[in-house]
Symmetry: C2
Subunit: 137 residues, 2 copies
DNA sequence: TGTCAGCTAATAATCATTCCTATTTGAGAA
DNA sequence: TTCTCAAATAGGAATGATTATTAGCTGACA
């Protein structure tokens, strides 16, 4: 079932279906955190020892271009890949280094409304993202 | 005058005053953009050809630790140094690659208030920063 | 069954940043 | 003023993440 879903998703995004793409796809769907290319590599390599790190990078990049994943650069400059496509913010845990999703439609609306009412001179807002740093309470 | 101000600022931050520190300090005070270590190096090297890139990095880092500068990682993962110490946001110009300051106390209050009223489960917010991407209108 | 465009593995190259170390500098002690 | 020593610097090597290159492989399709 997971295999079929993955296959379907990959093919309908316009990419050819391959074993490597499937395992990378699945690794991301089950990940709660926001894995780096390196951590996807480590995970995938367990069952697929011959896969190369370059393929991981290229596959992730292809998925981003195809709209299957998003990517962002974390606060130390490392690329993170994110299977959640809807607009959301990230919580940076300064104690554990985790990055968790924070989805809040109310906040999105609030910000959108704010910038509609308070235009910035000579600037057209295209994308807003809030970086939230803090720690476990 | 600039020299004396720089000297004063560096010494009162607890650092020894050196020529290298002065020129790096001044390069940042006059910069409108948010320079990288490399761009500070290029600028400073004109009048100080023997300064080394390692010294630029170390000096900038010392200034950050001393509270004279702030630093952040831009959207492609490169370190940026910022002489504006007060809380503010950054406008990322997707067309020109510029990063400009956007200071808006109203927005800061709005966000602060929002997160006081809408607590996040098991998370204590320490720092909020809004990344604003867009282009010249 | 043969072809060919697209994939992949392996490895080299790049880029930003940090580390290392021999040498220099300069503030304070004598 | 001269001496001394910790701190600072220059220059280059090392590191880590990412991208580029390329030769060989694979699988859909004629
Ligand atoms: Mn790095
Ligand atoms: Mn990098
Ligand atoms: Zn996310
Ligand atoms: Zn700024």
């Amino acid at each position: 079932m997971t295999v079929e879903t993955a296959k379907k998703r990959i093919i309908e995004s316009g990419l050819k279906f391959t074993h490597q793409r499937m395992v990378v796809y699945n690794a991301l769907q089950v990940s709660a955190d926001h894995p780096t290319a390196e951590s996807v590599y480590e995970k995938v390599k367990e069952a697929n020892p011959s896969i190369s790190l370059g393929t991981i990078y290229k596959t992730l990049e292809n998925f981003v271009r195809a709209g299957i994943l998003k990517k962002f650069t974390d606060d130390v400059g490392v690329m993170r890949f994110d299977p959640m496509l809807e607009t959301h913010s990230h919580l940076y845990f300064t104690d554990t280094q985790e990055i968790k999703d924070y989805k809040d439609p109310g906040l999105v609306l609030l910000l959108k409304k704010y910038f509609e009412e308070n235009q910035i001179d000579n600037f057209e807002v295209e994308e807003l993202s809030l970086v939230i740093k803090g720690k476990t309470k």
